[in-house]
Amino acid sequence: MTAPAVFARDLTRRFGDFTAVDHISFEVATGEVFGFLGANGAGKTTAMKMLIGLLAPTEGEARVADLDIVTQTEQVRCRIGYMSQRFSLYEDLTVKENISLYGGIYGLSDSTIAERSRNMMESLGLKDELVGKLPLGWKQKLAFSVALLHEPAVVFLDEPTGGVDPITRRQFWELIYAAAARGTTVFVTTHYMDEAEYCDRISIMVAGKIATMGSPGDLKKKWNVSTIDELFVRLARPT
């Protein structure tokens, strides 16, 4: 039996008296597209920051790529990719320069970087121009591809499609599927409920806890709703 790509047990984070993440437990299998949903302030960004090593857990344990996030942080960093909600490539550098920067940071050889950047620019249809001049949708696709450059086991995407038009969003999800098909586990937070339907499995966080978890189809049956949107509203705002 292979270990799960992401594993959390009773993962908790408190800020003073406030418990942002309250004993959450879940598993994500290798190659799965896992949607991590929740309203603003529900604690999903805090949970993700713990998994990628930006924030120490107060309690509980978690493993990413079968590595402990507290004791093996350095190894974890080499095995994950991350794309934040803010666009995070350098606008004053060109496409290639950005790629070779991140390739270098992750210790790829010059020839590997050259080969992968050629492939990436070809498949995205990009020229080697300043990143600042690209339209937002392209920037996001490039940022995602750069997050995958070092072929991480798990890629964490924090609201990757914010402010992007529906067509580009669709293309973006095609990239996500392609990555998952190659065996990369995708851990994604989103506000778009139609995107939640694209995920293999989703969890919905409410007030620091996971309120429900499962495949979109199962969840709709279980809660007797027709869309995830309906389910989300019902859970996030209990009457």
């Binding site: 960093r77 991350y82 934040s84 490539l89 004053d92 320069e97």
Partner: protein, 369 residues
């Protein structure tokens, strides 16, 4: 490890080289500052120190002396009967202008003969020298016309001008070490603070912190390119000082450059610390200006001597790194002394560097507590 750091530094260099406007300003700054400070911020022409050589005091020499001291511009530092006092005072930089009366000044005035005055001016700085000469001549001319009116007949006072050159009184000599400190502070602290807080603001820092880059690598990668820039700036400032103002360089260039790098590291560490503790570029810029540039120019002894500051400010000046660097730089450049006399100041800078670096790396921990 090495590829990682190299990739990061290449990126930093690209940032610096691509932003042409900022780069031009940074490279030209030492030049402009040396020239501006050299010409503009020189010795004050208000408190002109006057020596009076009066071999035979009479009513006219007394009156003219009183005219000189009536305004705020001149103050008499010495009165002597013989000219031999002037040379040593000029040489020690204790006097700016010497007025020497003819032995029989009043008699000549009475008998309508030309009454002679020798006006010697220290013109080691030609601009100030000319200004001082003009002021002194004006005082004499005014007295002459007043006498004419009083006596109702023409009188003749003939001032004879002499410019004296004294290389030891160059105020620019004292400025250049301070300027180097100022330029280094600006480039090192301000630019690092700005570039690091920009990464924070744009969210790229988060990506770097998630990557295998360690905090110290991010800091070293940020700091080294700017250290190179700072180094270029020191050379420009020294070259400008030497070519434009003929500032002497008596000590070891290598030692001065090494000390400059040490001082840059203190400033860089402060810049990193400021960026680590602030949330936006604007705040980081303002704080690093307040925390480094102001004390470096005002409390370091660069412009105002520390000895003449109020007690409290003197105490505060001890924690201003520029104060120690200026002592070192002045010692090396103007006195030609070596590290045997400067090890204490060097040690202070080294301790400061380690302290700020340690605090900066600590504040930079990726895991926010």
């Amino acid at each position: 490890m090495i590829t990682t750091l190299r990739a990061f530094m290449v990126k930093e260099l690209r940032h610096i080289l691509r932003d042409r406007q900022t780069l031009t300003i940074l490279l030209l700054m030492p030049l402009v500052q040396v020239v501006l400070f050299g010409y503009a911020l020189r010795s004050d022409v208000r408190d002109i120190r006057l020596v009076v050589v009066d071999p035979s005091p009479d009513y006219a020499t007394q009156e003219l002396k009183a005219r000189f001291t009536a305004g705020r511009r001149f103050k008499i530092v010495a009165v002597a009967p013989s000219f031999s006092i002037v040379q040593p005072l000029f040489r020690q930089g204790k006097a700016d202008v010497a007025v020497t009366f003819d032995p029989d000044f009043a008699e000549h005035l009475e008998s309508n003969e030309p009454a002679r005055i020798l006006l010697a001016v220290d013109a080691s700085d030609p601009n100030t020298g000319t200004t001082m000469q003009t002021y002194a001549a004006a005082v004499i001319a005014e007295y002459e016309s007043e006498l004419k009116q009083r006596k109702g007949r023409p009188v003749m006072i003939v001032p004879e001008m002499r410019m004296r050159f004294n290389p030891s009184l160059e105020s620019v000599n004292l400025f250049v070490p301070g300027l180097i400190a100022l330029v280094l502070t600006l480039v090192s602290a301000l630019m690092t603070a700005i570039s690091l807080s920009r990464e924070k603001e744009r969210g790229t820092l988060e990506i770097l912190l998630v990557s295998p880059l360690r905090p110290w690598q991010i800091i070293v990668g940020k700091v080294l390119p700017y250290l190179g820039l700072a180094f270029a700036n020191v050379l420009t400032a020294l070259l400008a000082a030497w070519l434009v103002f003929h500032v002497p360089f008596r000590g070891s260039v290598v030692l001065l450059l090494a000390e400059s790098i040490l001082y840059s590291m203190v400033s860089l560490a402060i810049g990193v610390l400021v960026a680590a503790r602030t949330t936006s570029q604007r705040v980081a810029m303002l704080i690093s200006l307040m925390a480094t540039l102001l004390p470096s120019s005002l409390l370091s002894g660069m412009i105002f001597p520390i000895a003449s500051m109020p007690r409290l400010l003197q105490v505060i000046s001890n924690v201003v790194p520029a104060r120690w660097f200026i002592i070192i730089a002045r010692g090396i450049m103007l006195k030609g002394i070596g590290v045997t006399y400067l090890w204490r100041e060097t040690l202070v800078l080294a301790v400061m560097t380690m302290f700020f670096m340690a605090v900066a790396v600590r504040s930079f921990k990726p895991r926010v507590a």
